[in-house]
């Protein structure tokens, strides 16, 4: 139990650290310091929150893979938290984009979401995270019963959407987008290979 508490606290700390750091930077910035977040602080925040959302997405998916492959199960009870942090940063990401970069001009935001493919994928991913976030409570888990598990498999779709959203933005350097896309592919493949259907067939 102590072990479980340790991991819980650790996930809380890792989950909150980026947003706390960001808040400190914003306060410093608003107080007139200039060497924080660079010359385009809005853009820096959009990138930062997007990366952290993806980090938590990968961690969420990795929890069960790690258990299956290397018998490391400590993340399993933390999956709800990890998933919620993923949604939290994705939401901040979308808000920062709309507010800091497009200044809440709704028509323009809508226009961009439709016109720019990478944005469409990102938005779909965020929308799909919504029902998962809402039904993440124990109450909903009970209410939905078996259907809860199948509903939450939608996170696989989210992972694919997020990876496409990132890869479509490659301009010159393809290292990070490719790395994240490969992680997602690996984690989904692992599930496929270990699924009952495949195991029976083999």
């Amino acid at each position: 139990m102590a072990k479980r508490r340790f991991w819980s606290v650790l996930v809380w700390l890792i989950g909150l650290a980026p947003v706390v750091w960001l808040l400190v930077q914003v306060v410093r910035l608003q107080q007139g310091e200039w060497d924080v977040l660079g010359n385009e602080p809005g853009r820096a925040i959009v990138f930062f929150t997007g990366e952290w959302s993806f980090n938590f997405l990968v961690l969420t998916l990795a929890a069960s893979s790690l258990k299956r492959q290397v018998s490391f199960a400590a993340l399993m009870p933390q999956r709800r938290k990890l998933g919620l942090f993923c949604f939290f940063y994705a939401l901040l990401h979308a808000l920062a984009y709309s507010g800091f970069l497009l200044e809440w001009q709704w028509y323009e935001i809508l226009n961009e979401l439709i016109e720019r493919q990478y944005l469409t994928f990102g938005m779909l991913g965020l929308l799909l995270l919504l029902p998962l976030t809402v039904t993440s409570t124990k109450g909903w888990q009970r209410r939905l019963g078996k259907r809860w598990k199948s509903l939450h498999k939608a996170v696989y779709v989210v992972a694919v959407l997020a990876a496409v959203h990132y890869v479509l933005q490659i301009r010159s350097d393809w290292f990070w987008p490719t790395l994240y896309a490969m992680l997602v592919t690996l984690l989904l493949l692992e599930r496929f290979m270990t699924s009952k259907l495949i195991r029976k067939a083999i």
Partner: protein
């Protein structure tokens, strides 16, 4: 009024020093001579203490003197110039890294002195010119230009340089020279990112102009900015500045100039021709496939005031419009 609401275009208190020093730079320079402050220009001294970065852009000494003697011109006199720190810490210079802050951090390894430029192709006077050779017969001038990046941000920069046309005339291009091609230094030891496996750019970086664009009086070769020798992260010691085109056309740290009959292949255009045209004229009506070019973020921007302004055709330099009369700019973007 109890509270002063700051517009993002307004300078904050900490920004004012450098700008006021800069505005009175000539006066300061005179005083400096009297005080025999030989190490660096007073502008640089003030800026250095101000932004707390150690840097030594004012080398070599002969170039520093030349840059300090630059004459002011009316170009951009009514513009609000970006702070020195913005211009020198927010750079796209992929040879030193992909992050905007990488060039300021890593460009130290670039050796800008001695420097020479190889002139070749369709001209009567090919050969290799040192930077001194190039600058000797020229006097420098300061021009304040708007720089619009293809990534939809922009800055106002006080360049110091000379019209490219003056250099071209000395090369005596043949009538067959329809285009001019530029090449950046290729040396992974000095430009570490050139050995990266994760970049799609084929080094060296190349850019090009049509001859009439290159000869246009607006087209500048810069060797300095903000009253000092060009910092390395800004493309020292010699870079192109074409203010009506997206920033990626304004190639940095030039070592090669070639006159050619055919349109040269250029770096970004080669990677993604549907995103980056050869002409790359600033045009609010032709979007980048992944973002709108109708507006731009004028930097430095505040968090809650992104300082967005509408983008103008040719970045507002209407005098170049005649170069493109009869051309469909939506197709030849």
């Amino acid at each position: 009024m109890l509270f002063k609401i700051r517009r993002s275009s307004e300078a904050r208190e900490h920004e004012v020093t450098s700008e006021s020093v800069y505005a009175n730079r000539r006066q300061f320079i005179g005083q400096a001579g009297a005080l025999a402050l030989a190490a660096a220009s007073p502008v640089a001294v003030a800026l250095e203490t101000h932004d707390g970065r150690s840097r030594s852009p004012n080398k070599p000494a002969w170039l520093k003197d030349k840059v300090l003697a630059a004459r002011e011109t009316p170009w951009g006199a009514d513009e609000t110039v970006a702070p020195y720190r913005s211009i020198t810490t927010y750079n796209n210079f992929y040879e030193f890294g992909l992050d905007k802050s990488d060039p300021a951090r890593y460009a130290k390894t670039l050796q800008t002195d001695p420097w020479s430029v190889k002139i070749s192709g369709e001209c009567e006077a090919p050969g290799t010119l040192t930077l001194e050779d190039i600058l000797k017969p020229l006097s420098l001038e300061e021009r304040i230009y708007r720089l619009r990046c293809v990534e939809a941000w922009s800055m106002v920069i006080p360049w110091i340089g000379f019209p490219l046309a003056e250099l071209i005339k000395r090369c005596k291009p043949l009538s067959t020279a329809k285009y001019i091609e530029f090449e950046t230094l290729l040396d992974p030891k000095q430009m570490p990112e050139q050995s990266s496996r994760f970049s799609t750019i084929k080094w060296p970086y190349r850019e090009g102009l049509r001859m009439d664009e290159a000869m246009h009086p607006l087209t500048l070769m810069a060797v300095g900015l903000y009253g000092e020798v060009l910092p390395k992260q800004n493309g020292a010691p010699l870079r192109l500045v074409v203010p009506w085109k997206y920033g990626f056309k304004s190639i940095k740290s030039i070592v090669g100039i070639r006159f050619s009959e055919h349109m040269p292949s250029t770096s970004w255009n080669g990677i993604a021709p549907q995103e980056y045209g050869f002409y790359a004229n600033v045009n609010p009506e032709v979007d980048h496939p992944r973002w709108s070019q109708a507006s731009e973020r004028r930097l430095p921007s505040g968090l809650f005031a992104p300082n967005r302004i509408e983008t103008q055709l040719f970045n507002g330099y209407d005098e170049v419009a005649s170069l493109y009369s009869g051309m469909n700019l939506k197709k030849l973007y």
